[in-house]
């Protein structure tokens, strides 16, 4: 595929010797990033937003997705559109607000007016254009080439030939179902977006988001904090496994001692919390039976959907997506996903759990940011110290949650797409 530089293979894999190494060049080389934009971000399903973010007709928000400027809007008829936020006339961004409610969008440059579906409605000086100009396809805002949704999660793809979203998600769908089954009324995004960045290559956040190995050392102070909360933790150890879901998707499913609003009680939540958590759990059992209820309530899931969507159902549920800006700088957006019907108590403790661990102002994520930035700095030595090792747990029949199978799943798909190679 004609990379400008190809000093050595991106992966060094030898299953018989349990070797799986990743070239550090993949984190620093601008030609690699060009290849990623072309072969991954231009060709994969990418997360746009959740339908709950557009509750009313006329609601809209603007987002950067895969290097494009998109307009995500709900029309008067309730239909949700994903438009390229650019005027068909001369290219200006039509909508310049982050979010709001509108009956139509007007490009301020020459005054063209578009419906929430992107259709051109009016424009000044129409006597100087042919009669059918307004109805020509090129006169309206273009939708993203593909736009589909699953369980309320909307995705776009800039390659019209891609398989359906359902086929692309494949085995990841079942885990999305488990996460969404904690709600009877549907999941929703809670107000408040965490928009941050890391001075590191975007792929380091893929690895970090599904890394069960780093918790005890990187997040020592977070675990100290949990122990200091009154009553401490649940009497549950870290225990669970990883699954390669195919297509570069992967998941960790495991138990952990922190509280889960749906539904693992911890002493710090007191008797009021206990009553609430028991009620939620009983409702899960009633709906799904003991076995699936236990899976929904007791097990954490770090779900990775190739190439850049993380849905971690842990002490809260985060939806996180991130894009490379440069080889050594990424932009991250993260939201809290929650059952829309949950009580004020559950919502409050969910949000506290979220910001304590998951947020860039919390007791854990800032240390992840530091770790990734330190890796990127370490890669200054990549000409001599060439390889990352992600072999942990290779050859095991059941890879543990703190092994590195999930990273190998990502890198194998990455390598296939970038170099057409099978690892």
């Amino acid at each position: 595929m004609g990379m400008a530089t190809k000093l050595h293979a991106a992966l060094d894999v030898d299953a018989s010797r349990r070797v799986f190494r990743v070239s550090r060049q993949t984190f620093v080389d601008a030609a690699i990033l060009d290849g990623e934009r072309r072969e991954i971000f231009d060709k994969c399903w990418l997360y746009l937003g959740h339908e709950s973010e557009l509750p009313q007709p006329g609601d809209f928000l603007t987002r950067q997705v895969g290097g494009r400027s998109l307009l995500f809007a709900r029309g008067a008829d309730g239909a949700i559109s994903a438009l390229l936020n650019t005027c068909p006339h001369r290219g200006a961004q039509v909508c310049r607000e982050k979010h709001g409610n509108a009956k139509a969008f007007q490009c301020f440059y020459h005054g063209w007016v578009f419906g929430l579906d992107g259709k051109l409605r009016s424009f000044p000086g129409k006597e100087s254009y042919p009669d059918d100009f307004k109805d020509r396809p090129g006169s309206s805002m273009s939708p993203a080439p593909r736009h589909e949704s699953y369980n309320g999660l909307h995705f776009v793809c800039f390659d019209a030939r891609i398989e359906s979203l359902a086929d692309y998600l494949g085995n990841a769908k079942e885990y999305l179902d488990v996460i969404c089954d904690q709600s009877t009324q549907g999941m929703r995004i809670v107000s408040g977006s965490q928009e941050y960045s890391i001075r590191a290559n975007w792929k380091l956040l893929t690895e970090n988001s599904v890394d069960g190995y780093h918790a005890v050392t990187t997040h020592a102070t977070y675990l100290d904090y949990l122990r200091n909360t009154s009553g401490g933790l649940a009497q549950v150890g870290f225990n669970g496994r990883a699954h390669d879901l195919g297509g570069g998707h992967a998941v960790l499913e495991y138990r952990a001692p922190w509280g889960r609003p749906v539904a693992q009680w911890i002493p710090a939540w007191g008797e009021a919390g206990k009553t609430e958590v028991e009620r939620l759990r009983a409702s899960l059992v009633e709906r799904y039976g003991e076995q699936r209820a236990a899976r929904i309530a007791d097990y954490n899931r770090n779900l990775f959907i190739f190439p850049n969507l993380v849905i971690n159902d842990i002490m809260a549920v985060t939806v996180r997506t991130y894009y490379p800006v440069e080889t050594d700088y990424m932009a991250i957006s993260a939201w809290a996903l929650a059952p829309s019907e949950e009580s004020a108590w559950a919502r409050k403790y969910r949000l506290f759990n979220f910001l304590e661990f998951l947020g860039p102002g919390g007791f854990a994520t800032p240390d992840d940011v530091e770790a990734l930035e330190q890796c990127q700095k370490g890669f200054r030595n990549s000409a001599e110290a060439k390889w990352n090792d992600i072999s942990k747990g290779m050859g095991k029949e059941i890879p543990a949650y703190d092994d590195e199978l999930q990273m190998r799943a990502f890198w194998t798909e990455w390598n296939r797409r970038i170099f057409g190679a099978t690892a």
Binding site: S191, G192, Y196, I198, T221, D224, Y225, L355, K377
Partner: protein, 161 residues
């Protein structure tokens, strides 16, 4: 109560800034009441949003605030080890409301954080509820509203604003 001047309030806020910049965080914590709160909302929220219903960057009650201080003083708070150097500039101080036992104060902040060759800037406005206690102040609530769109390029708010 009516005798308290803006200069009195400024002296207190400048003391707070110095304690932060000198990493005297346990002493800084003593400036807060036992029921104190400290928050940094997400930047797409209204200024009066509640952390009970919306996602914040920081929403500490007194317990979490004391744990934040403990954490930041440890070597295992990796993001702040070695400690970054900071400078808090506090300006535009105004007494907005005077109540019997409390002042509502607003100010502007500009905070530089530098570590390992990278300098980041945080700026915005602060709203304080200052409890009056025996001729001095204690902070009952401090809310820092960032003016930026999120935390780019800072990437974290690991220091106290």
């Amino acid at each position: 109560m009516d005798q308290i001047s803006r200069a009195d309030v400024e002296d207190f806020l400048f003391l707070e800034a110095d304690l932060l910049d000198e990493w005297r965080l346990p002493e800084w914590l003593e400036l807060f009441t036992e029921d104190a709160t400290y928050s940094v909302p997400a930047t797409d929220l209204p200024a009066n949003a509640s952390p009970d219903t919306s996602l914040f960057y920081v929403a500490d009650d007194r317990f979490r605030l004391s744990e934040r201080v403990k954490r930041l003083m440890k070597r295992t708070a990796h993001v702040e080890f070695p400690h970054s150097r900071t400078r808090h500039f506090i300006t535009n101080v105004r007494i907005r409301e005077r109540h019997e036992d409390e002042l509502l104060v607003s100010s502007a902040f500009l905070v530089y954080r530098t570590k390992d060759g990278v300098t980041d800037t945080y700026f915005g406005s602060s709203r304080y509820r200052l409890a009056l206690k025996g001729g001095s102040f204690r902070i009952r609530d401090k809310r820092c509203l960032l003016d930026t769109d999120g935390l780019r390029p800072q990437g974290r708010v690991s220091i106290i604003l």
